[in-house]
């Protein structure tokens, strides 16, 4: 039976980082984006689809991405799936922001 990357109950060798930190600006932004996109008025996608998208990631991505990184990649995929934004539009915007910072 194939296990999903998130289905780790009972697996040996995993450690939990118990260090706490204040939410960073990045984390707050990602949180705000998800709350707005899943709000009753907008309902761009369901929380279930967010979970499904995260569970579809490779073991490598799942292990190295933090909690809000996982959300961000999932939000991006779902916005494209629902045809709210295209990959090209997102890439163009990323490129624009990157260049404006230099």
């Amino acid at each position: 039976m194939q296990r999903k990357v998130n289905d780790v109950g009972g697996l040996a060798g995993l450690t939990i980082n118990r260090e706490e930190h204040d939410q960073t600006f990045f984390e707050k932004r990602v949180d705000a984006m998800l709350m707005l996109l899943t709000s009753p008025k907008v309902k761009a996608f369901s929380v279930d689809s967010l979970r499904r998208t995260i569970e579809e990631s490779t073991l490598d991505d799942y292990s190295k991405r933090g909690y809000y990184d996982k959300w961000l990649y999932a939000i991006r995929q779902l916005l494209v799936e629902k045809a709210i934004l295209s990959d090209e539009e997102i890439e163009q915007r990323i490129s624009l922001i990157k260049h404006s910072k230099r």
């Binding site: 109950g9 009972g10 979970r51 499904r52 579809e56 629902k82």
Partner: protein, 102 residues
């Protein structure tokens, strides 16, 4: 907008019923962890009806409700070589289609 269907079915299990969790195969978005599959437990609470998360995860527009149960398991029934006290249990919320009468 999602066209949620009402479910007129009654739950097939009652509090106190003994069940076995199916062994699989899992849905693409699955809420039943691997470590509980094939394990026997008892129903402790009927949690209510919820829209099927494995369908909500794929932007389905017509999703029926399914019964969710809180099921108690003995830790010693889950883990081979469990060394904790015999009274240790774990509770999990599982959907009806994952459960078969014991």
């Amino acid at each position: 907008m999602t066209d949620f269907q009402a479910n007129t079915r009654h739950p097939i299990f009652n509090v106190g019923d003994l069940i076995v969790v199916k062994s699989g195969p899992p849905e693409v978005h699955c809420r039943t962890p691997t470590y509980l599959r094939g394990v026997s437990g008892s129903i402790v609470q009927i949690m209510g009806e919820y829209h099927n998360p494995s369908l909500l995860a794929f932007h389905k527009t017509s999703v029926s409700k399914i019964w969710l149960y809180r099921v108690n398991f003995e830790q010693a029934d889950i883990w081979r070589k469990y060394s904790g006290p015999n009274c240790d249990t774990v509770a999990a919320d599982l959907y009806e289609h994952w459960l078969i009468p014991a």
